[in-house]
């Protein structure tokens, strides 16, 4: 039987980064991917004369080559950064909210953002400066937490990061209320909420501000060749390091020995491969519910998994338009279009087809004018569904339903931005939760992992990462991991789980 030091299940972001980390440490490693491409959500597809990005709106934490952000630093350590061409985004976002009649374009950069906030309301600048100094402290505390491997010294936390501690158990709403910001400032700060996908009464303040601060201070970038470039950069690195990567090779079983330790995997075609260590880049629901023999799943793993809540199920429209952004009047790269900035109401509206009025839309040409032929535009519109409403759709109704939802989102975009695009659709693809389930296998088509909530948010997950480890030889990383969803988090999670695997190997004397 073939044997590897470690097997990675899934060539998604977390799987690819885990594999590179393991190979960099000199281990032998096989990546098994069910699809015919690497990347999971990090991919692209071609329709006619357009190449569409599958999922990435903006990548946070890249920074500049001179002043690298945390993600670029990680990519350098892994040896993939020099394979990727980044394009820096100019503005942060354009917020359009109907009820409050908001129409703001906000820049990246702490100072610029604070100045722009002053224009929203007198005193806005001072409010933002206060939030940013909290953001800075959260950032340093998170670094400390990483160094302490999830076991921070409470004394250090209390002395050096008191505000971090003070805000750490509150929701976004509680946190912003406690800081005494006026409504317009709170609403504007919450613009990014749909990137984490829990409403602001549930979403962890600390987690949100950490992300918000990171975006505004460090800016965001996109890879020149869509996120397929990221995936192929990792793929190429894996090959360079002597790793193996098998496509169309779905793992159906994680095998364990009589002591409950991992000892291999079985593929769909029956092939068995031996390994004492597996990093699974998929959800614990799939790992414990589908890949493992139920008898080998510890009760606590079952209970934790049952306790968790799936986050948003994805829905995206990909449009290739036969006019330029100038001709169409599309001004910005990134739009958040809401009916209201009341996120609890928004979250609820996203549970049914007809009421979903949230969209994050991206005009790729505004970041990269050369992304499509001259005189054309690439436009994406994304929303989440916060319920399993798509499971009520039958095979026969499916195509009609996806275009119905898409039509209303396109109309909403037109109304909010004052543009007219429906007569210029040359190519259209619509991805629903069914599509995400198909390509990545995540339960119910969730694209955001487990929802960020008070008891299952970033902090408790990080602090309990060893407690959440149940099966010897098995680590689970990626968007369902302790860093939660998002591109940078998934790559980081994969690396972290690979490091833990290396430590497991050391302890086991391998």
């Amino acid at each position: 039987m073939r044997q590897y030091d470690a097997i990675v299940i899934g060539a998604g972001n977390g799987g690819l980064s885990a594999a590179v980390q393991l190979l960099n440490a000199g281990k032998t490693c096989l990546v098994c991917e069910r699809h015919n491409l690497p990347g999971g959500f990090a991919t692209s597809f071609v329709r006619g004369r357009f190449e569409f990005e599958a999922s990435l709106h903006e990548f946070n934490g890249i920074g500049t080559p001179e002043n690298p952000g945390s993600a670029r630093t990680l990519f350098r350590e892994l040896g993939v950064d020099d394979k990727i061409e980044w394009i820096q985004l100019k503005d942060a976002y354009h917020l359009l909210s109907m009820k409050e009649e908001y129409d703001f374009t906000m820049p990246f950069g702490l100072e610029a953002f604070a100045e722009a906030s002053e224009k929203l309301i007198p005193g806005g600048k001072a409010h933002m400066e206060r939030l940013f100094s909290l953001g800075r402290q959260i950032r340093s505390a998170m670094d400390y937490l990483s160094e302490s491997k999830g076991k921070p010294d409470p004394k250090v936390l209390m002395e050096k990061y008191p505000d971090y501690l003070n805000c750490g158990s509150y929701s976004v709403k509680e946190g912003l209320d406690a800081m005494g910001f006026p409504q317009i400032i709170k609403d504007n700060i919450c613009a990014y909420w749909c990137y984490l996908g829990a409403d602001c009464e549930n979403l962890s303040f600390l987690h949100y501000i950490n992300m918000f601060y990171s975006y505004i201070s460090g800016g965001a970038a996109i890879p020149k060749h869509r996120s397929h470039e990221l995936s192929l950069a990792f793929e190429t690195r894996i090959r360079e390091l002597g790793g193996d990567i098998w496509y169309n090779s779905e793992v159906t079983n994680i095998l364990t020995d009589s002591a409950g330790h991992v000892n291999g995997v079985r593929l769909k075609d029956g092939t068995e491969i031996a390994s004492r260590h597996v990093v699974a880049n998929c959800s614990p629901h799939v790992v414990y519910g589908q890949l493992m023999d139920p008898a080998a799943v510890p009760e606590r793993a079952l209970k934790l998994t049952n306790a968790r809540k799936f986050a948003g199920r994805g829905f995206t429209i990909f449009l290739g338009l036969d006019r330029s952004p100038d001709e169409l009047g599309i001004k910005d790269h990134s739009y958040f279009i809401y009916d209201t900035c009341d996120t609890v109401r928004q979250y609820k509206s996203m549970s049914v087809f007809q009421d979903n009025s949230v969209q994050a839309s991206v005009c790729l040409n505004r970041a990269d004018p050369d992304c499509s032929p001259s005189g054309t535009t690439i436009l994406y519109m994304t929303t989440l569904f916060t319920s399993d409403i798509w499971s009520t759709v039958t095979e026969e109704d499916y195509f009609e339903m996806k275009n119905k939802v898409a039509a209303s989102m396109i109309k909403r975009f037109e109304e909010a931005t004052g543009t007219s695009i429906h007569d210029h659709i040359e190519e259209i693809a619509v991805a629903t939760p069914e599509t995400y389930a198909r390509y990545c296998g995540h339960p119910q088509g969730t694209i955001y992992g487990y929802e960020s909530q008070y008891r299952d948010g970033l902090m408790p997950r990080i602090m309990m990462v060893e407690e959440d480890h149940f099966v010897p030889g098995l680590r689970i990383g990626g968007g369902f991991g302790e860093r939660l969803l998002g591109f940078p988090s998934s790559y980081k999670s994969g690396v972290n789980e690979a490091r833990r695997t290396l430590r497991d190997m050391e302890i086991e004397g391998e």
Binding site: L37, K83, M158, D163, C167, Y170, L232, W246, E434, Q444
Partner: protein, 385 residues
């Protein structure tokens, strides 16, 4: 202090250190019921996209002397086939002598028939696989079917309410599916079918088309080699298109490349915008050369290595099929990306009109073997199937 919520000093921090015990409590109180082994949305995904599945030929009908319609029914435990969009294609795979051959065929049956367990493909005797189907398969023969795919279908957000379908010869097949889809209500648009055939005898589905009486569908046969009463004669020119097309229409073309070249020119005369013209992709043909060389193609599939001959005038997929390798093959026109493979070494060419790789594929050296001709010895790493 930047952040303080509770007026009681130390209370906020105390609350922070409570999160972990709270989370432990959450786990303590959770159910230990077995986890679901499946989810409804994932089941729908699997129903629509099952990958490959076996089907049995249940009937063979002669349409014209060299055209047959094959009726397929599920060969496994299933009673239905995946639903699809009228105009999509499936692949059929069979071992033919030492080769393992896959070809794409538009479905000529309707989407609702699929749910009743019926797919039909209508095949003209031409290349290796269609000749094998017509001459060597029989009722009872089992084939592997690849799930419906392709984007040659009417999309109400993209296309006009009327489709002017321009069909050449066996290019009629996706439009037959569309006609039945309109009749059964699974598609909703008007169809003007302009069907180019050599003579009346070459019209596939002739009686069926003549019997149609639905105001949403109009059929205009155009004969190129025969003058007959009630038939337009000649090529499908701008005049003919103008005569039958309404003001606002999408033009869907399915037929040989020569027809595309001609009709494209005619559509330019009419000033039709590109977004209203869609063509079904044709499979890559052999490249024409007098003395094709034979190169060595080294193929890696997982940890297996094969060294096989590759003719200079044939694509890499054909070389792998000839060698009997199980290599991915779907659209054979370059557009679907199913055969996406790593190029290890060697020089190659991609025929014009078949370059649909992603931009990062060029940067990192990935190819679509179904539309890649070898220009030297080559080595590639191909996904298994």
């Amino acid at each position: 202090m930047i952040f303080q919520k509770s007026p009681i000093p130390g209370e906020d921090a105390k609350r922070f250190f409570q999160i972990v015990p709270e989370r432990r409590k959450m786990i303590d109180e959770a159910s230990n019921e077995p986890l679901p082994v499946t989810y409804k949305v994932n089941e729908l995904a699997k129903a629509l996209h099952p990958g490959t599945f076996p089907a049995r030929i249940s009937a063979i009908r002669e349409e014209t002397p060299d055209v047959r319609t094959f009726t397929l029914v599920p060969a496994g435990s299933k009673t239905s086939f995946p639903f699809f969009r009228a105009g999509q294609f499936i692949t059929l795979t069979s071992r033919i002598d030492a080769s393992l051959v896959t070809r794409a065929y538009s479905l000529s049956s309707s989407p609702k028939q699929a749910l009743a367990g019926i797919y039909e493909v209508t095949v003209r005797r031409a290349g290796l696989f269609s000749s094998w189907l017509i001459d060597r398969s029989a009722v009872g023969t089992v084939l592997m079917v690849g799930e419906p795919s392709g984007d040659f279908y009417h999309d109400n957000l993209r296309d006009a309410d009327t489709v002017v379908a321009v069909a050449g010869g066996s290019g009629i097949t996706p439009f037959r599916s569309m006609i039945h889809a309109i009749l059964e209500g699974s598609e909703n648009f008007n169809l003007v079918l302009i069907y180019g055939a050599r003579t009346r005898r070459d019209i596939i589905f002739k009686e069926e088309l003549e019997d149609l009486s639905d105001k949403r569908i109009r059929v205009i046969p155009v004969l190129s080699d025969e003058k007959a009463d009630g038939y337009d004669y000649g090529f499908i020119t701008a005049d003919i298109l103008k005569k039958y097309a309404p003001e606002k229409a999408s033009f869907f073309l399915c037929g040989p490349d020569a027809m595309y070249r001609f009709v494209d020119g005619e559509l330019v005369k009419l000033g039709i915008a590109g977004k209203y013209i869609r063509k079904e992709h044709n499979a890559v043909a052999d490249r024409i050369m007098s003395n094709p060389k034979v190169f060595t193609l080294n193929v890696r599939i997982r940890d297996q290595k094969y060294s096989i001959p590759a003719l200079e005038n044939e694509t890499l997929v054909v070389a792998m099929e000839r060698a009997g390798l199980a290599a991915p093959s779907r659209c054979r026109s370059g557009v679907c990306g199913f055969c996406h493979s790593k190029l290890i070494s060697g020089a190659y060419s991609v025929p014009e009109g078949h370059e649909y790789r992603r931009s990062a594929d060029f940067k990192f050296g990935f190819i679509h073997p179904c539309c890649t001709y070898p220009d030297s010895d080559m080595e590639i790493d191909v996904p298994t199937v």
